[in-house]
Symmetry: D2
Subunit: 140 residues, 4 copies
């Protein structure tokens, strides 16, 4: 599977009075990574929407290992972990100098933008599961 | 002019590592007040949009007097201060137990939701400028 | 177990261009509920911090059933579901007119605010697990 | 005066149901730029705090010219515009492919982090006002 890593500098806005990044803001970091994950493979998310498909989040999970702080430069990595029917699971890790700060995933449903009915993920998405060596990914 | 006051409890989410409410979040407080200001007069904002008019913000100003903190119960007050042509000015004050914490205003343009062209504010909005005693508001 | 429900009006700020509440913002709703859950039992969170204990989130999970929208009045309910050693699990549900929109939980670690070492939850917290009928809660 | 420009990709998180970046989020963009403005001159903001000085915002102004949208790559530019006594004015512009989307400024007070009393800005900050050609900045 293809992996993407983006870098992100933590602003004051993301912190709370405990002096650390507020827990909800990690889900925004996950989204920033997803945007680049799709773009990297030539399919920016707005293109998916143009093709009439939306990917609303139906589940989000985050486990917090170590706090991120103001001005930290974070590495946010992610990959498409699994596609099952109309569902898509994307994993995410947040690190600072290699140290794991948070990890989690989102599950997305592929739905038609008009009817809001479930649809098969576009091939461009399933192609993300093909591993670098060209074999078909085994997502079990 | 009619004034609205709402109450708002500050969550951790709104604070930053200085231990105070992050400055951008006051503009969200302003919006919460505006929503109730319009609703109070029988014209919730979504009704304005249904009538084909949007009120995008074209200017926002906030002056910060004293910091709001986690768990503070804030009083957020506001009123329509002026309507000039297609523009609308709404003032806002944030207080804690009477003490002024922040004050500011937003200026909105009335635009047609389809054409994005400027339009006259709906009468329901201009009615907000009529003072309590029934006289026409003097907006100077 | 004691349950708390708060009401929350959705501002524009919480929505995204899909026209629904952005997924990360549900975790802020969870926090708003937790604040009142603790206050309701006479132990606002800042009191816990004054007693030298913090409750950082170590896991957050949210499942999204139906989208919340601008100006919706939401009912956000929650309860302490389990206390195991130094960990605390709080469940949360977001509803609109009874319809379930999202549900999830957070797991918190009790840590000493100075040493950041795990500590037993204060009795005031464990007391929340006593069911309404006065029996001791069974958290298994 | 020295000018800094950073680039920023708009996530879904920043948009609202009008399909544009929510107005409060521009103040977060202003902060992102300020962080790099100070870092660029060898004085990251956390260093200022380490020197015992904070720069709380006492005024924020933003004028919205054209909406930014999801996935836009924005150029956020800024500079220290004026230092008067203990106050500091920083200007900011947000552009997309050269087109001005928003402009504004923040005014900061220099205060001692312990006493919260006003103090003179550190020399490292005033040095930012020296224009590129080496002359003393004229802030009129």
């Amino acid at each position: 599977m293809k992996k993407t890593t983006i870098q992100y500098r933590v602003p004051y806005a993301d912190t709370d009075q405990m002096g650390v990044v507020y827990y909800a803001n990690y889900l925004v970091l996950f989204e920033r990574m997803r945007n680049e994950l799709l773009r990297q493979d030539g399919l920016p998310y707005y293109e998916i929407e143009k093709q009439g498909v939306m990917l609303p989040v139906i589940e989000a999970v985050c486990r917090y290992r170590n706090p991120a702080r103001y001005d930290d430069m974070l590495d946010i990595s992610g990959w498409v972990d699994e596609i099952k029917g109309v569902k898509l699971k994307i994993c995410c890790e947040v690190r600072r100098n290699g140290e794991l700060l948070a990890e989690g995933h989102t599950v997305h449903a592929c739905v038609n933008i008009q009817s809001r009915r479930p649809v098969r993920p576009p091939e461009t998405l399933t192609a993300l599961l093909v591993p670098e060596d060209g074999n078909t990914a085994n997502n079990s």
